[in-house]
């Protein structure tokens, strides 16, 4: 039984809840609930109309059952009935049920909106508040449409009670977030802004949240809020006689309002007006000073509230990034927190310092705390705090302390939590590359990474070290020597074998003069690891062996013997077997000149952004890691170029040339496994088609013969398309409809295409709930193609990143120009195109009913001119057209012969180009 029953308690509900609590098993609970549901259902269905109390009780029970995690499919109507009750307690339960179990049933929405409407105009403020709370809790578009006019009026009306104003402000904020297009304050804006001066601090607190959102949407119009906010803040944080009564929280004056005001100011640059600016400086000074004063209470609430305001002030100082004095003070304050006994403060200080580190004014000040941060790395018990320490070390790293930080991180890596190892590895790899003064240190660092945390060294990292060694002549000898030594260890990580295999294969000759690392020793060393390695590594080693044959003719026979052994040449793995066979053959047939050409040293790589860096950026959301490469002082410091500069080489280039040795020999069609994975594929290629759901492909084929319609649809997003084509050019209008009530953020569509040029107009990164966004694509067909361009859309919805990818319906037939011709002309041309490759024929079963008119429409939609009275058989279809591409024009003739009896078609295409015939036949045959 309840420990306390206050207000209008419901005994039946209490009994039911305690029954549920007494259930010994899940089954018993389900049984009890089903019994109750049956009971309630019969009560609701009964002839006798229920009194308000019973209705309230049963609706409340249903709510309880729903909150326990069971589905509720009735009772909505009864809840709506409660809304129109005159009794507050009944109304309240009705609204609670509606808020928790929003139903999209449109009839119900109308009834609910009616009840809300009545309550909004009620004499009783408590009823108005219930209605406002319900709108704010549901926040649906329908409600926004119904009440978006009414609520601002309530908010600014002179006779509205303060507590109603507060609800109205936050209710409006909610609608502003869900349907920003609907909420327009118009001339009321300035009255809302002046709520900052309201006498009632509760009203100011609620209104400030709304004003922040308005300022984010219309910064210019809301600029007037700056002096008001500063004034208000001053009256709170600068000590005076004013008594804030119940708005002081554990001796901290109005912390919630202070934080909100500081947030509002972060929507703007520093105030232009001198008096406002100096008043604000006073406020910030005062907040910083208070942090140094002895606490007025020992309670953690006091310190939390006080420091909450302080952290927000520091955020503002960082946001302005203009006052070196304040930035350094902020940094020193955070420095004190680094050793505070409260874990939360240490954590937040580390995090906040990360942003300070990227300001040129405070970077040096942050660096002075390096020892504290390093000791945090060693002593903190909480892994998330240690992770923040790693972040901060990364952020404060520059040329002066890189070696120390790398050493500390390597040291930490030995014992680090497995969950953060990979990230540390990436960070160390980036720092080592970026601040490498000499490449020997860089190579050592990466090899250390592999030694300490080999499993967490991703492909990007070891690909990168190889790239750099290949591009930097001065380090090649050292690298060869170092990997050779590292490989001596009895147990070394497979990643080391990969790096070692590759580097010795390229540069083993540089250390072959030393008898301790003679060719045979190198070979034996590598080969001793061979049997312990996975297939991709063995494949790599085989490539190294053929390179050795080129580099060291003296051990050719030894290597040939190995290749010839049945464990290689008859290996059950196709890839290994093929390499062994091909390399062996190559070494036998090719003379030394040919071999030297085939196996020539890898050319230096084009410089481009480090793939590791892009991977690291991808792992962490933006903002968490200060992107130092963008900060001015790091530019032009000769940062090994490799980190910067754009990508130039085509995507498909095999970056490491890991297959170069075998690509010469016969066919290189065999799959090369993961070794060929382009290291940049990670951040440039579209998401796999699998994500696009079957719906998308189905729709794609629908568009072969038409130019508009719905291209893609899921729960969140609907994508419509309208397109037009003329000769080799086309224009696509894509409409993205947000079906949800929340914003899509960082909305970014990107196109990947091969044989057509697609130029996409840029779009707004925000798609509001319920809104539609249009994007135009200009298309140019360069030559005949098979692969349609694919569209990849990324956005954030409710905190998660969404990825949608599918094909854009740009197919070869879109570039058709229909050509009318007589029967005689047609057959003359038909005969001209008589080379076997020019004709493609396909016989297939009808998937749809064989309707003559539909077929005609489809052929016309396909783009060819439908030629009447050409074919002697009237039930056959004949068409002609010209495909326009930028480089050529291809004449096409087609003939479709339906056989209604067999429900089959025969489709024949003749064009001057075999690939075109093939592609068109594929596309069209899929349509019937």
């Amino acid at each position: 039984m309840p420990a306390v029953s206050k207000g209008d308690g419901m005994r039946g509900l209490a009994v039911f809840i305690s029954d549920i609590r007494n259930c010994k098993s899940k089954e018993a609970e389900v049984k009890r609930i089903n019994k109750e549901l049956a009971n309630i259902r019969s009560k609701f269905k009964g002839d006798k109309s229920l009194d308000g109390y019973s209705k309230r009780k049963y609706v409340c029970k249903l709510l309880f059952i729903f909150l326990l995690g069971h589905d509720i499919d009735f009772g909505h109507m009864e809840a709506v009935n409660l809304l129109s009750s005159n009794k507050y307690t009944e109304k309240q339960i009705g609204y609670l049920f509606i808020s928790v179990l929003v139903n999209s049933n449109s009839d119900l929405i109308r009834l609910i909106n009616n009840a809300i409407k009545n309550d909004l105009s009620s004499r009783y403020p408590v009823f108005m508040k219930l209605a406002l709370h319900c709108i704010a809790n549901v926040g649906s578009r329908e409600m926004a449409e119904a009440f978006v006019q009414e609520i601002p009026r309530i908010l600014v009306a002179g006779d509205t009670m303060d507590s109603v104003k507060q609800s109205a402000a936050l209710c409006l904020l909610r609608l502003h977030r869900t349907s920003p297009d609907l909420v327009t304050m118009g001339e009321l804006t300035s009255r809302v802004v002046h709520l900052l001066n309201d006498q009632h601090l509760g009203v100011v607190t609620a209104a400030t949240s709304l004003i922040i959102a308005m300022a984010q949407k219309n910064p210019e119009e809301l600029k007037v809020s700056i002096p008001l906010a500063v004034g208000r803040l001053g009256r709170i944080v600068i000590p005076a006689a004013s008594d804030l009564q119940d708005y002081a929280y554990y001796f901290v004056p109005a912390p919630w309002l202070s934080v909100k005001l500081l947030r509002l100011l972060q929507c703007y640059p520093p105030p232009e007006d001198d008096s406002v600016r100096s008043r604000l400086a006073e406020c910030l000074e005062s907040i910083l000073n208070k942090a140094q004063e002895p606490p007025k209470s020992k309670k953690v609430q006091h310190s939390n509230a006080k420091y909450a305001v302080l952290f927000e002030a520091i955020s503002l100082i960082i946001h302005y990034d203009s006052d070196p004095g304040l930035l350094v003070r902020a940094c020193n304050q955070l420095g004190q927190f680094l050793q505070h006994r409260e874990t939360n403060l240490r954590y937040l200080a580390l995090e906040s310092m990360c942003t300070l580190a990227s300001s040129e004014f405070s970077h040096e000040a942050v660096k002075t705390h390096i020892e504290t941060v390093i000791s945090a790395l060693k002593t903190e018990r909480d892994v998330s705090v240690r992770q923040r320490a790693v972040d901060l070390l990364y952020a404060m790293c520059d040329r002066s302390n890189a070696k120390q930080i790398v050493a500390e991180l390597l040291d930490y890596l030995e014992t680090a939590d497995y969950s953060i190892r990979e990230e540390i590895v990436l960070k160390v790899a980036v720092i080592a590359e970026k601040y490498a003064v000499d490449y020997a240190w860089y190579v050592d660092t990466i090899l250390n990474l592999i030694r300490i945390a080999g499993d967490h060294v991703s492909e990007e990292v070891w690909y990168r070290v190889i790239q750099i060694v290949i591009s930097r002549e001065e380090v090649q000898g050292y690298a060869a020597k170092t990997v050779f030594e590292a490989l001596q260890a009895p147990a070394c990580h497979e990643n080391l074998v990969k790096v070692g295999g590759y580097i010795l294969g390229e540069f083993g000759n540089l250390i072959a003069g030393d008898p301790r690392s003679s060719p045979l020793v190198q070979f034996n060393l590598l080969h001793s690891k061979f049997h312990l390695c996975s297939v991709p590594t063995r494949a790599l080693l085989l490539s190294t062996y053929i390179k050795f044959i080129n580099l060291f003719p003296e051990i050719k026979v030894t290597i040939q013997d190995v290749l010839r052994s049945s464990s290689q040449i008859r290996n059950s793995d196709v890839e290994l077997q093929q390499r062994a066979v091909e390399y062996l053959r190559l070494s036998c047939v090719a003379n030394t000149d040919v071999l030297a050409t085939v196996l020539e040293e890898m050319p230096p790589f084009l410089e481009r952004e480090s793939s590791i860096l892009s991977k690291l950026k991808k792992r962490k959301g933006p903002g968490l890691l200060p992107e130092q490469e963008d900060s001015p002082k790091d530019k032009n410091t000769g940062v090994n170029g490799t980190v910067e500069s754009a990508s130039l080489s085509p995507l498909s280039a095999d970056l490491l040339g890991l297959s170069s040795t075998s690509s010469q020999s016969s066919s290189s069609s065999a799959p090369r496994g993961s070794l060929l994975v382009d290291i940049f594929a990670d951040n440039q290629s579209p998401v796999p088609e699998a994500a696009a759901a079957p719906v998308a492909t189905e729709n794609f084929s629908k568009f072969v013969c038409k130019n508009s319609g719905v291209l893609f649809e899921n729960q969140m997003l609907q994508i419509g398309l309208k397109s037009e084509f003329r000769q080799n050019l086309g224009r696509l209008h894509v409409f993205y409809g947000n079906k949800t009530s929340m914003q899509f953020l960082d909305f970014s569509p990107s196109v990947v295409c091969h044989d057509v040029n697609v130029h996409a107009k840029s779009v707004d990164p925000v798609v509001n709930g319920g809104a539609q966004l249009q994007q135009m694509f200009n298309i140019e067909c360069i030559s005949d193609f098979q692969e349609a361009p694919s569209l990849n859309i990324q956005f954030r919805y409710g905190g998660t990143l969404q990825n949608i990818g599918f094909k854009l319906p740009v197919t070869l037939n879109k570039f058709f120009q229909p050509t009318e011709m007589s029967s005689q002309e047609f057959f003359q041309r038909w005969k001209q195109l008589s080379i076997p490759q020019q004709e493609v024929q396909k016989i297939f079963k009808a998937k749809n009913p064989m309707d003559m008119d539909v077929t005609k429409a489809k052929i016309a939609g396909f783009g060819v001119a439908l030629l009447d009275q050409v074919d002697p058989n009237p039930s056959n279809f004949v068409g002609a057209g010209i495909i326009h591409t930028k480089t050529t024009q291809v004449g096409c003739l087609m003939r479709l012969e339906p056989n209604t009896q067999a429900q089959m078609y025969r489709l024949t295409l003749r064009t001057s180009r075999d690939s075109v015939s093939q592609q068109l036949c594929e596309l069209l045959s899929d349509q019937f």
């Binding site: 309840p2 306390v4 029953s5 206050k6 207000g7 209008d8 308690g9 005994r11 039946g12 009994v15 609590r21 109390y53 409340c60 709510l63 995690g69 507050y88 309240q92 609670l96 408590v126 406002l132 709370h133 704010a136 649906s140 507590s163 507060q166 936050l170 209710c171 904020l173 909610r174 977030r177 509760g202 607190t205 609620a206 949240s209 009564q245 119940d246 929280y249 109005a254 912390p255 919630w256 934080v259 947030r263 972060q266 609430q301 509230a305 420091y307 909450a308 927000e312 955020s315 874990t343 939360n344 937040l348 018990r381 909480d382 998330s384 903002g623 929340m742 954030r796 409710g798 905190g799």
Partner: protein
Amino acid sequence: MMRFLLLFSRQGKLRLQKWFTPLPERERRKIVRDMTMMVLARSPRCCSVIHWRDLKIVYKRYASLYFCSALEDPDNELLALEVMHRYVELLDKYFGNVCELDIIFNFEKAYFILDEFLLGGEVQETSKLLVVKSTEESDLLQETMEEYMRKPAF
């Protein structure tokens, strides 16, 4: 703004769930599962902030109950701790020495009090006096224990 507030017991039983943005039921269940697993696994000395997806989870334990809130990136973590504390104080003031059972048996009241305090994921009224006054206005029809016992028990 706060995205959601969850109250759950040490055994992982959900006692209160408030979602300030619309989410499908399946997603909610998943989040509740993630939160209970993540928060219950942490030791008392750990810090109260966890990065999760693009949100910041701030949690605090009061006796047998965990209060767990999700914040957006610009929100203030320390203040979120105090939002939860103020909510506990409000419950305490209303129920008088609140315990988990009060929230179980009077869950609707817990929701009403929360609505007075937080709306749309933002703080509406920070004054303890005003919130409690406003909640008690709805309880004007205070009933006697006798009246309560006379009500049907089904």
